[in-house]
Homo-oligomer: 336 residues x 2
């Protein structure tokens, strides 16, 4: 099974597809709901608030320092649930395979997905596989959708930011986008830049336990910190000030960005959360973040203001101020 | 918006993507959960059993007689939920667009999806858009995932078929696959063959109201009636006998299959359900099916037996019997 190439008939619905599913998916995502092989998975759920989300992953290359399309497809969807405070429960996975894809690569991706799901505490309970002829897709695309339960008393939304709130982040920015770009373009720096791809639900649980009144959580993926903060500024009709001297950026990422003419504020992250917190809760949230392995370098990088609603401004080191707009144009295609 | 081509930067996460989403998706799938623009949609749900499923759609061509990739992406996922007896509630939609895709085509597909969702009584509450460079995908792929509530007292599974049960279907077989194939290959017959693509949840609700003790519901999509019945025979460890003279096949579909050397038993359907029902409930279920517009031509086409467990046999018109195996090889690529 780990040798050979994906064939067109493995997406036919027939015997070849069943064998692929049996050999590869059922073993890796081993759980009773999936093993039932029904049209949909059925499970008991308590009443309350449910969160639901989806993302497709078309990243190129499939494997990059710090992760691969499989772990990314789990982390991204788990994080989108966690951003509403939900405890992620179940994922679905849809695979679009290009005829000729290396089966060994597919097996590595699926194993990585299964490991990421297990680490994040979620189960992959339904799936689908399609195969398209050569040159009709690029190797492998994955869609994941997910659901999770939102505990009572939690109300997180991009529209909840209020003047006086502080903006926190759990570490350095731009790592994922630069790791993928350097790998894809064959750029080598002294130290290999690694993606920050990670499931944030464990850290977020600690943050909400420390201070349930957090206003906004959002992961700055495509479009980076700048675009995500612009979205929040628009949704909440507030202004956001970023402190340039506080922006946490790894030296190698800053260097690579400079060489390539990119602004790290617009480069994607896959293991970072922007938390917008009432000033009175900021210390508690920051401590909770720092107590978690994914938040050791957490810091405050900005504040919410009533001036310039809908806008993000950067207070520069030399005391100036410049508008940080949403990403325009395409900075880095296929980074997730 | 309905003129022009999809650009790479419309998948960037930045301003261009926001404009695409605002102009196209938020208007078409107009509902409060989607309009919140958060990382995931959050909604109240009563406690009980939830069904969850996913499918990706890579059909070629995008538009075919009787439907398009958008309506199909709704019908397919709604039907997978309905096959467990669930009342479908919410869908997510993930779009993978090829750079250069005609925006007018995309708009037609999205409008069709929205109409299909509205007719089926479901809401599209979360979405995602990726754009890949030219020749890295073929025009447009859509993934939908869905959830629904399973009423108390319903227990439908492919493993529930029992000897003595009857096998019912709500109309003719092979229509979808032949409609797509004829369109793709430019084959013309006297009458245009139309896909049967439809949301079956309304009819299934009537069937379960008439007789809640139905054992199995399954939609014979990829691999056709033959493959689906083989799956059930394996899951339930029973034999299934099909009556050749009872197989409902449209004359033009039979003719096209003959010309092309295809067996309609293996051709995909997208608006059909196979119902496996205890003999005592068959009349009630059949009447309920016939009372619905999608079930006017419903009939009994086979029975469940204890002989030959795991196998499907066809009783031919001349009194013989032949094994109907699961589809082997690829009969029709990209029919869904």
């Amino acid at each position: 099974m780990d040798q050979g190439l994906v064939q067109l008939d493995q997406g036919s619905g027939g015997r070849a597809m069943h064998e692929l599913i049996d050999d590869l998916f059922l073993g890796a995502f081993n759980n009773p709901l999936l093993l039932e092989r029904n049209d949909s998975a059925v499970f008991e759920i308590p009443g309350g608030r449910l969160a639901m989300t989806t993302d497709s992953y078309v990243i190129d290359p499939l494997f990059f320092p710090g992760g691969d399309i499989g772990s990314l497809a789990v982390h991204g969807t788990v994080n989108d649930l966690a951003m509403r405070g939900a405890k992620p429960l179940y994922l679905t996975a849809g695979f679009i395979l290009e005829e000729g894809l290396d089966l060994g690569d597919l097996k590595r991706v699926v194993a990585s997905m299964a490991r990421a799901a297990s680490e994040a505490g979620v189960q992959v309970i339904a799936g689908d596989t399609k195969v398209v002829p050569r040159a009709k897709a690029d190797k492998l695309f994955i869609n994941t959708a997910g659901i999770g339960l939102v505990p009572a008393g939690i109300d997180l939304s991009g529209s909840n930011a209020r003047p006086g709130d502080l903006v926190l982040i759990n570490g350095t920015i731009g790592d994922h986008g630069m790791a993928v770009l350097c790998k894809r373009e064959g750029l080598e720096f002294e130290n290999e830049i690694r993606s920050d791809s990670a499931a944030l639900n464990g850290m977020i649980e600690r943050m909400l336990a420390a201070f349930p009144g957090i206003h906004v959580l959002r992961d700055p993926t495509r479009g980076g910190v700048a675009t995500t903060l612009n979205e929040i500024a628009e949704q909440s009709a507030v202004g956001i000030r970023l402190f340039e001297e506080a922006l946490p950026i790894r030296g190698d990422v800053a260097g690579a960005c400079e060489v390539l003419g990119l602004d790290p504020l617009y480069v994607a992250n896959e293991g970072k959360v922007l938390a917008i917190v009432p000033a009175g809760g900021a210390d508690a949230v920051l401590s909770a973040m720092k107590s978690h392995p994914l938040g050791k370098s957490s810091c405050i990088l900005g504040k919410v203001v009533s001036d310039d609603p809908g806008r993000v401004l950067l207070q520069t080191r030399i005391g100036g101020c410049r508008i940080v707009d949403m990403l325009r144009g395409e900075q880095l295609p296929r980074i997730c």
